[in-house]
Symmetry: C2
Subunit: 278 residues, 2 copies
């Protein structure tokens, strides 16, 4: 692995057209030593089998994506979500990663109360954080772009994510900094410093902002360098905050998914070096 | 006009399928006494003719939309934008409205510097604010949802808009509060109070947040009551901040534009009463 890629991690979603064995092969071919994994493909392959695969390939698992969806009002749904998040913690531990990314969840049907939904996230964290800590897994609350506030994640800013995280010890709960979600926020640099000082930057992810956004706004995240975000600036911000960990590139991009996954991984690693490192 | 509709104003874009005379007729039919107008259809009709039309119809023009687009780097483009904004001030004065809504503009091609773009907005305001004040027109900086930060408006929060506005006298520069753009922001209520205390709430607009967002995310603003936003809460916030002025409903919605405009206006007025007033 080249020094330039020492901090690079490819999030599985960037090359979701690859199976887990193909991903491991592509990482070896591109000199990539770290991956962020997703629960659904890992479970489809088998958690223990996936853990053995990445271990045998010499890959480090930087995060597991994702737990969360903790905003349900219905008691049965809430209990199911908590149980599912405990399983996600178990899976993270089995895969050998210390970080579970959390997407908090949107408004329940018919509800218009963002504040109450955020408070339910805090209540759920109070149950999950000790469990995660006991298993050596840190929960990394990911603020999602405000355009997802209604249907996906009521936590929209790093400030909100930190306000939640700070109710718990840093080794249990921190935040995920994803450029795609926070780049527009003039308060984000100060919040990154705040998070770093408290040892709460548990994951860093990159994607670029390109327009026009596609219908549903989910799968239009740009390749590094294709959009409006100054990647080097954000890398410098997390570095200045004391973060020395891996930097994942996580692209939800319909166009990239139609291409050869090994090729996409190779180009993504090149873009990382060009736009983040050099 | 019923008491329930005393503060209601229909923004022209909500029923853009109607010509100006049709809009005036529809307002009379629905008991609507106030309209927010857009520059393009007004200019197409003729500014003086439009002013006479609304005057003869007994309509109050609550805002003119819109000036702005003040982020150009190129000196020639910048001068052209300033000249165009002076014309927009003139048009607002001619139409008898005291409020020109400003959409600040996005990043220039190739630029990734939001902060510098916002500073160029401030520089432009320094030239425009006195001109507007001299013509009895207030500039109302509208923060647009962060999903528009790259390509349409680098001012994404009420806090940023107020930081800009406060460099100038309140009778020259204030803000537009549009629920569609600020509803996700847990800091917006405090910023509304700050704006109200300073007499800087120059316009209030409503639209609901519905998902999934359409491609390009421009024309999916929901009819009041159809989405995630608690309209009454936001009406109470501006009221509590001392705002007593008109409340425009501004819906960019492809589906509504295919329907009969008079019908859309009547339904919109009903929704306003149901979700905002009663």
């Amino acid at each position: 692995m080249s020094t330039d890629l020492a901090r690079f991690s490819v999030n599985q979603m960037t090359v979701r057209q690859l199976s887990l064995p193909e991903l491991a092969d592509a990482c070896r071919a591109s000199g990539v030593g770290q991956v962020g994994l997703w629960r659904e493909p890992v479970r489809a392959y088998g958690v223990e089998a996936a853990a053995k695969l990445v271990r045998d390939a010499g890959l480090t698992v930087t995060t597991l994506c994702r737990g969360g969806f903790l905003t349900a009002l219905d008691p049965g749904e809430r209990a199911a979500a908590l149980a599912d998040n405990r399983r996600a913690v178990d899976e993270a531990a089995a895969l050998g990663t210390d970080t579970l990314v959390l997407v908090s969840g949107g408004l329940p049907p018919g509800s218009k109360d963002l504040r109450a939904a955020r408070e339910r996230v805090a209540d759920a964290l109070a149950e999950l954080a000790p469990y995660a800590g006991d298993h050596g897994v840190r929960l990394a609350i990911e603020p999602l772009h405000p355009m997802f506030a209604a249907d996906r994640c009521v936590v929209s800013t790093l400030g909100q994510a930190l306000d939640l995280a700070e109710r718990f010890p840093a080794h249990q709960v921190g935040v995920t900094v994803d450029t795609y979600h926070v780049w527009w926020d003039d308060r984000a640099p100060a919040e990154i410093a705040r998070a770093g000082a408290a040892g709460r930057i548990h994951a860093v992810q990159l994607a670029d902002w390109t327009t026009p956004l596609p219908e549903g706004v989910l799968n239009g995240r740009g390749q590094l360098g294709d959009g409006a975000i100054d990647m080097r600036q954000w890398k410098n911000l997390v570095d200045s905050a004391g973060y020395t960990g891996p930097i994942e590139v996580e692209l939800f991009n319909e166009r990239l998914w139609t291409r050869d996954g090994r090729e996409v991984l190779a180009r993504t690693a090149e873009r990382f070096v060009e736009h983040v490192i050099r």
